[in-house]
Symmetry: C2
């Protein structure tokens, strides 16, 4: 096997090299992400508007678009040490399999029980809830990684954790549910009859298998009806991207340690938190005019918010109880095909990622799921790790780019985010193994139906 | 949180500190483990006797009880680098939760897709099969870790992999099956109608959910009927323990790096490979009179081969097609209660571990499964990692010992092997979460029925 003598298989930082500050890319953006709007008044949401829903300190982080570095509290740093630093792995075996001159690296965030990067923000959000003296938090989960991560974080700090889990995942992934219960969380399939919004959605769409947008509405309502609770979210929001920058900062530190400069950085994008966290420090260099990278967001062809959505203010949830966010969106009424495996099913995209995409700092591609599982299987067989379907979207494009290098002979350095493991996705892998997986691409009419639900008001043309 | 300033949460070795040789503890044993016997002649099995079943190089390792260090081939070292070194973790959070003065460390072997230590031997066995120019291998798997590990190893080297999976696990763990298929293996529930021995066992015990002993018989028969195939085994044999010493050697290197001397070393024991691999370097020091450690093997109360078995020559498999091994055994006809979750269901115990136990180098304890899951849940909630039920037997005793220290005020250093993760054991966790888990302890009559199947011949008194 070819091997760069100086580059190990896995670049580990030492514990004292784990970042002690998160990086807030908004501070370096000339075009700031648009503020959240109050859907009633269409005015920007203030800290006071947000206080009934979110923890105080998280609101401060949500609204702060000027402070570049935000200290990570010691208790969170301590927790990070239980599963971080995450390795940056040189994919020597994949390179050899592809016979590519490209150098491929992946940042592996799956070495913890949530099986994904989600724990990076879960522990931060649980910490601030605990600091504020709250009793517990409510949340939604799609594929289940976020709910698992939050359950772990809450059990660590002794907080109650109530999870609304998208019904299709609740049924297809009973084991995810049990992991959350093992960590002490209560898990309710969404839409449920436990909330007004859930009952309304069920009445309108009796057979629905749910969506992240529905589950968010239910979790927000559940929070509002309990004393001492707040709502927490696993993606999309600025605060979540901020916490996830620990991924990008570690990646950059590991690359710097060996004087490696990437040409291409690739991440999968559902709500945008992993992608945003991975790319922030690199996007910051681009924004400051210091460096130039090709940064690629990869989304499923079945839920193509960046590549086929519109850039507009839209509701973050199906029940329309949340503020409006300006983002690339398919419309909050867009319910992704249940055919699509795993996460990345959110109708919108993080405002930060949306703005960076709008400004040409990053590009986007959509890929179909059979091609994704083909890449996942190829990767698993040589690199050992069984990747999550979500992460495998990034693998697909990394392999595509490496194969282009094979054509051209270019020795590009490719870095991609391997956000997690696929241990709880074996139903989907089974379908692929049995040749029973199919692709789904929404028609223009499907998309139009979603766009029709986006609110129209002056300044929200699309 | 109390924290030793110099001891990080996780002690990682660098890649060049991964062992380059395995340690063969038999070389330091005055009382060598008894040789395998040909069940027909009752004579020791020679290399020639074993050649139709096992790979040549593995036979050499199996029979070598004098060479203390055996080089690890470069290709295996390269593969080890994909998931090793495994961290030695200081369980600061568990210590705080227990309020114990004890210092607890665990060697975590779950950071790979097999979810366990099994990959350490799987890759070695696949390598030697490939070197010999074979087409493929057959094996059995119980809980599924070994089958997964072997599938990964075979896919890496391009070998065919045929797995006989204990029927109860095949049905309860469909996802394990899919992981193996994703890596290209064929998986057959055992007992099956594809082998003579399987049909015979099915005729005698129509409703049986299988056992490791049955599956071994089937895999050996399947190997014997195909050109270019050999049989490989995931535990019990000397060669497997040898490969697993990479666990103990890394553990010892990590402890030495920080001048830590353990008082107690704890491992769970099914067939004995993880335990043997973890303790070998420490047992070696005891055997050579250099050090003294309390070494504890932990087994399930439902399958108590060390604590309630007899030390005698017995069949390794239910179908009695394998050689006889001298070991602590419950009789090859002993079929563990299907009530018992996870692995550690083998009727016998590695001859090396058996001899060390017989000579008082190690001690043994049995624990009941509800107590094991209680410890597992307690551990998961503070240390983050969701442990495998097998590994949790060791956690149970580690916690018990730490609580004793709390009583006495002793600051003992406890090291235990955390062999893997429980992601595929959520049915069992679910039962525990629902309060529906019960314990099973075989009666003396149950055991007597097993003992009655052990062969009697001169020199095999028990």
């Amino acid at each position: 096997m070819k091997k760069d003598a100086n580059i190990p298989y896995k670049i580990y930082l030492s514990e004292n090299e784990i970042p002690k500050e998160w990086y807030n890319v908004r501070a370096d953006m000339k075009n700031k992400p648009a503020p959240l709007l109050n859907p009633g008044t269409l005015q920007p949401m203030t800290a006071d508007d947000l206080r009934p829903v979110f923890c105080d300190e998280l609101i401060a982080q949500e609204l702060d678009d000027t402070t570049p570095y935000i200290p990570i509290p010691q208790e969170i740093q301590d927790f990070y040490k239980m599963y971080r630093p995450a390795p940056l792995v040189r994919a020597y075996c994949l390179e050899e399999k592809l016979q590519t001159p490209a150098k491929i690296y992946y940042k592996f965030e799956g070495n913890n029980t949530s099986g994904s990067h989600k724990l990076n923000s879960a522990i931060a959000q649980a910490y601030y809830a605990k600091q504020q003296g709250l009793k517990g938090v409510t949340t939604e989960t799609g594929a289940g990684q976020w709910g698992t991560a939050l359950s772990m974080a809450c059990s660590y700090f002794g907080l109650d954790c109530q999870v609304y889990m998208v019904k299709v995942s609740y049924e297809q992934k009973p084991f995810r549910r049990e992991v959350m219960r093992t960590y002490g969380a209560t898990v309710t399939p969404s839409p449920s009859t436990t909330t007004e919004v859930g009952r309304k959605i069920l009445a309108e769409h009796p057979g629905t298998t749910g969506s992240l947008g529905c589950a968010i509405s239910e979790a927000v309502e559940a929070e509002s009806k309990q004393e001492g609770y707040r709502y927490v979210l696993g993606s999309v929001l600025n605060q979540v991207l901020l916490h996830q920058t620990v991924i990008g900062l570690e990646t950059k530190a590991a690359l710097d340690k060996y004087n490696i400069t990437p040409d291409i950085i690739i991440g999968c994008a559902g709500g945008g938190s992993n992608l945003g966290g991975l790319i922030s420090p690199f996007a910051g260099e681009v924004l400051r005019g210091e460096k130039n990278y090709q940064i690629i967001a990869v989304e499923p062809a079945s839920c193509p918010s960046l590549t086929r959505g519109v850039y507009a203010y839209d509701f973050c949830d199906t029940g329309k109880v949340c503020p409006l966010a300006k983002m690339y969106t398919l419309g909050s009424g867009f319910i992704p095909s249940p055919n699509h495996a795993g996460g990345l099913r959110y109708h919108g995209m993080s405002p930060v990622v949306s703005q960076l995409y709008h400004d040409g700092i990053i590009e986007a591609r959509s890929v179909e799921q059979t091609a994704v599982f083909e890449a996942a299987t190829q990767f698993a067989r040589v690199e050992g790790i069984l990747p999550a379907p979500e992460s495998s979207h990034a693998i697909r494009v990394a392999i595509d780019e490496a194969l282009k290098c094979k054509e051209t002979g270019e020795e590009k350095t490719i870095v991609f985010g391997l956000t997690g493991t696929g241990y709880f996705d074996m139903v989907a892998y089974g379908k692929y193994n049995d040749g029973e997986m199919s692709d789904y691409i929404p028609t223009d009419d499907d998309l139009k139906a979603g766009f029709d639900g986006i609110p129209h008001f002056p300044g929200n043309e699309f």
